[in-house]
Symmetry: C2
């Protein structure tokens, strides 16, 4: 059995994490042993390794926050889920591990036989995308939304969820090579950030949307990209930040905040988990699981690695040049 453990934090995250073997743990009453099938590396996992995330676990810690696994052994007094059942790993349990011990009652059963890689990404990115589309602005069918980092995990779910709800998306990316794949994935408009042919982003968005009012902007980049996104929004719009891929603080002109009455908000899924009711959570996840099982919702995969290659996997996840998610899988 192998787990990806780190005992300290570093801005070079692959330096501190390593694959460590461990003995099969004793199961207590009510517990089960799980064999990991797939567990993604999310930006929040990388920021936890570098010490830049909002909640940091005590050290040493096992990496990973979500994934799917198969039940392989029951402890005393466990009758379900069945041996062989595919289940969702409870959030924050250290999912980058070949085997995990969990309370049987904390497990959510998933349909067996569905692609575990797509299933492994259910807990974090799809609800983030879904909630950012619903929690801040009351969007109607036909309304436009703009997002940057549109090729990220959250970004690709957002394109699909927006389309399913009848919203239209402007998607801002940093490379021209991303335009075609995102259009194929359902994006309405894809634009490269910055000034192109002498036209700033706001002007090109106006042209592409026929000067539509854009009431919601979603920013995962920070720095001047926040301001460029703000410029594309209509009076009274909301700009939601959920990440800082640029590594820089959000920069936004007072003219946008004051004269255009733009509200800047943040979205943090961990807070939503704390403040939402079980019914709200069930509704959001029920919808997402249904869409993933039926293949309507998926995210592109950049590469998969077994736990023993955790250093290479984290290095690749931390680099900005992926075209999809890096996922840890069963060897």
């Amino acid at each position: 059995m192998l787990k990806a453990e780190y005992k300290t934090r570093s801005l070079v995250p692959q330096d501190v994490i390593e694959a460590v073997s461990f003995e099969q743990p004793e199961l207590k009453e009510g517990q089960v042993l799980l064999e990991m099938l797939a567990a993604p590396i999310n930006p929040s996992d990388v920021l936890t390794l570098t010490g830049q995330y909002g909640i940091l676990p005590p050290l040493p810690a096992i990496g990973g926050n979500e994934g799917v696994a198969k039940v392989v052994e029951h402890g005393l007094n466990v009758s379900s889920p069945d041996i062989g059942q595919t289940v969702l790993i409870p959030i924050s349990l250290g999912s980058w591990s070949s085997h995990i011990v969990a309370d049987a009652k904390a497990l959510i059963s998933l349909p067996n036989g569905v692609d575990p890689i797509q299933m492994s990404m259910i807990t974090i990115n799809p609800p983030t995308a879904s909630l950012m589309l619903s929690e801040f602005v009351d969007l109607q069918k036909g309304d436009w939304v703009i997002q940057n980092a549109a090729n990220s995990g959250v970004g690709s779910y957002l394109i699909k969820l927006a389309k399913l709800r009848g919203f239209r998306t402007v998607n801002v990316v940093r490379r021209e090579s991303l335009i075609e794949p995102l259009l194929t994935a359902g994006a309405d408009v894809v634009l490269v950030d910055g000034i192109i042919d002498g036209l700033n982003l706001a002007k090109r968005v106006k042209a592409a949307t026929n000067s539509a009012d854009i009431k919601l902007g979603i920013d995962a980049v920070g720095g001047n990209a926040t301001d460029r996104l703000g410029e594309t929004l209509c009076d009274g719009a909301t700009l939601v930040n959920y990440g800082a891929m640029s590594g820089e603080p959000c920069s936004i002109a007072p003219t946008l905040i004051i004269f255009k009455d733009i509200t800047v908000r943040g979205f943090w899924l961990a807070k939503w988990f704390k403040t939402s009711t079980p019914e709200q959570q069930k509704e959001v996840f029920g919808t997402i699981i249904g869409l993933i099982v039926t293949g309507k919702l998926s995210a592109p995969i950049h590469a998969t690695y077994p736990i023993k290659d955790i250093k290479q996997a984290v290095a690749e996840a931390a680099s900005g040049k992926r075209n999809g998610k890096v996922v840890m899988v069963k060897e």
Copy 2:
């Protein structure tokens, strides 16, 4: 008769404005001739001259947006206000002028004999301070508010209005010499921005307020000062920007927006004038006029000038080193 007119805009505002003589205009039916008593130079006036404000009047234009005057002549069919009555000039009429023509019905009479300089600043800064304290966060007696540029016009009204409502203020300034005057004016805490004795602003605010939750931050500076103010706020707080004295975009860390759930908003009085009801306006101004007439609300005055010295007055108002307002007065 003299008016302060500008025909073009420039980042050096005193270059484009000049005192120009004009003939006494004919009064139409229902109009009155006013003699200006006092009219302040606000930051928004300077930004209008430089072309950086949210609404720019067509050129040529007369400077100034508020002030008080005395009725000196009635047009046909005018019975009130009486000749000699002190009145508030309707907003945006070009108040830097020795004489102004106005519709009699648009005038709000003020008590005669009260200091016209303090009265001349009623329309813009006091309601800005008042509304920022009431429109964003439901503050209770004893709650703390933090603001920067605390020695500005708005800042000094905010200190007094907060005190009258039972709120406590942390006031951030750029010079140590401002601490004593602001404490005398009613500030609870005054701190110099930045790092002092190795302690950042947030740490010194914690020490000075006994780690109180601060739910409202008011920023007139922008740049990194926005972030420094954000760091002093509690989870879920609101940061309201209403100016950019630094000339830089607001910079704020995504960690504050995402993990601390700070909402960034803007306040623009012109928008409030458009969206509020006459009853709301009457309530806000009624309270403010009462406080100024009774001497409970006042702002420090840096210097007064007659219209003929408009260039020097604007240059001084535009410089960052004032300790109060520059006000144009009757020669």
